[in-house]
Structure formats: structure tokens, C-alpha cells
Subunit: 197 residues, 2 copies
Amino acid sequence: MPRIRAASVAEHRDQTMTRLLDAFEAALEEEGFAEITLAGVAERAGIARNTVYNYAKDKQALLVAAVRRAMLAVLADLDAQTDVAVSAEEQLLAVIDRLLADFSGGAPRLLVLQALQGSLLAGPGEAEVPRLDSRIEDIVRRGIETGEFRPSSDVALTVAMMAGAAEAAVRALSRGDRSLAHITREVKTVLLRAVRA
Amino acid sequence: MPRIRAASVAEHRDQTMTRLLDAFEAALEEEGFAEITLAGVAERAGIARNTVYNYAKDKQALLVAAVRRAMLAVLADLDAQTDVAVSAEEQLLAVIDRLLADFSGGAPRLLVLQALQGSLLAGPGEAEVPRLDSRIEDIVRRGIETGEFRPSSDVALTVAMMAGAAEAAVRALSRGDRSLAHITREVKTVLLRAVRA
């Protein structure tokens, strides 16, 4: 029997957690959070009922882990786009594209929306979830420095209002009577007008 | 003994309801919604415990009535300002002034905020509360007609985003680390930039 190395143990845990989170997202979309049970998610993921407790103590912990994964994926994408050769305006437009595309599909949409609203995450676990605001704030500050965006003594408030506007658009998107392309266009127009010099 | 006329009965009911709603708002500010009891509000208003049930069946009903009163006061003020001689831009700025001033003080702030967010009013009673969106939509449509505001194929979405931005500012206001004047100025800047031609 081959010796189990630490690296492969960690890899195995990562793979199991990925299967659990995929199963959780599918359950969220099909059943809704209220109906989900940890045992049901384990069964969906093909993981023994007892084993699941080594990964999450309850469904709230799975929710936090799933939101964290969705947000980290968004942030990694944003980092990949953050090239100093790109203007702040182009960065802002790329962020809007990415966020709205995420919102438009299935469970990640629900997750990120709830994370933004803070509705499901109040309480333990919230601190573990990265926030988008500071990333958008960086872009706005850079745009002010380069002269692309108007000077502001309160960038944090401007970004909070931009996020509020985007959240309202996401709520409209979730009602399903407007296309993603249409809503993305309107969000870009309004947010750029809000900051452009 | 003088005969009780219908008019004075209606007047008496109005006065009692006003006292109940004033007491409810004071209780909301001092105790918070979770702690409020209908009997406590009746006592605060100096109204017999049994009588209160002729006015509201539970504290949720009082909440709806209080939000309704706060919103009607805002709308009446807006109507008084809606003079055709005034530009759409001036109307929009007046609405922002009025709304933020309302938000900055005590119980009406909580009430209107909760009404906007729809958080406490989901369920019975919600339909009785007038919404602000359609009033702001009227102003934006008029501004588009007069050429003050940019044309839009989706005024409802624009207004939803404006409301989302304003709500974010109200949340910042409720944290208390920025002045009303400062936040009002920033909201006016961002919302005007969003719609101006």
C-alpha cells in the first residue's frame, strides 16, 4: 500500500470540498436554502453522511464556504484583468461585465447577491467572505489619480452608491423580464456617468 | 348630553390613531420593533388596552399604518413642490432633500427605510403602502420630455438604480459617521449625473 503523503491528503480534502460545494449550489438552485439539509447535500455529492461533518458543521457553514468560493473566483478574474496598461474606465467596465455575468446564472448569482446584501451572512462566518467594495474603490481611486474620474472627498460613499445601483439592477435581472445584455449596458452607462470626470 | 355626530366620531378616531402612531414611533425608536407590544403602545398613548384592538389587530398592522403615514407625508410634500414652472432637475433635487431629511431623524427614518427595502413589509399590508418609485419616474420622464435628461428606453430600470444608490447613501447616513449635508450633496451629484442630458 503506498504511503499517504500530506500533499495528497490536502488534495483529497480539496476535491471533496469542491464536490460538496458543487452539490450545495445545485441544491440551492433546485430546493432553496430553507429546504437544504447537510445530509441531503452529502448524498448528492456521493459522500458518506458522517464524513460531511469533517468539512462543514452545518448548512450555514457550507453557505459561507460557497459564497467565499464564488467571490474568490470573481476576485481572481478581476486580478487577472488589473493590468496597469488598462485604463480605470476599462477596468470598471470589465468588473461590471464580470459581476453581472455571474449574477445571471444559477446558484452563484444567489450567493453573491446574498453576500452583497448581507442578508444571509449576518453573524458568524461573515468576516471570512471577501468584499468587492475595496476592489472597486481601488479602481475609482486610480481613475481619480489619472484624471479619468472626477475628484471626490468621499470615494467610499461613491462606491457604496455605485454598489447600491448595481444591486438594484441585479434585482431587476433576477426578475427575468430584461436581458443580461440590456441590463449590463444600462449599469455601465449609469456607473460611468457617476464617476467620469 | 350632546348628540355624537358622525363627523366628530371620525375625528375622534383620527385623533386616537394619531396618538397610537406617535406612541408606536416613539416605542420603535426607544425599544426596537422586536420588543414592542400592542399593550405597551396603548399604555404609552394613554389608551385603554381593549380599545387598541379597534384600531390595530397587531403590531405589524401598526407598523404598516405608521409607514403609510410617513410615506403619505413625504408624497404630500412632493405634490406641493410639483409646480410645472419648476424644472425636472429642481424637482429631483427637492425630492432628494426631502427624502434624506426624513431619513436623518428618528422613527420615520427607520420606517421609510424599511418600506423602501421591503424587508419588514413583505406580506399582508404591503399593498396599502404607497411607493416612491412611480413619483420619481414621473419626474425623470418629464425631464426626458423637456430635454433636461438623457433619453432612455428603460426609465423604470434607471429609477430603480437611482433608488438603489440613494438607499446605499441612507445606510451610510444611518451609521452616523457622515453629516446629512455631506451625504445629501453626494447623492445629488451622483443622481443628477446619472440622468442629466
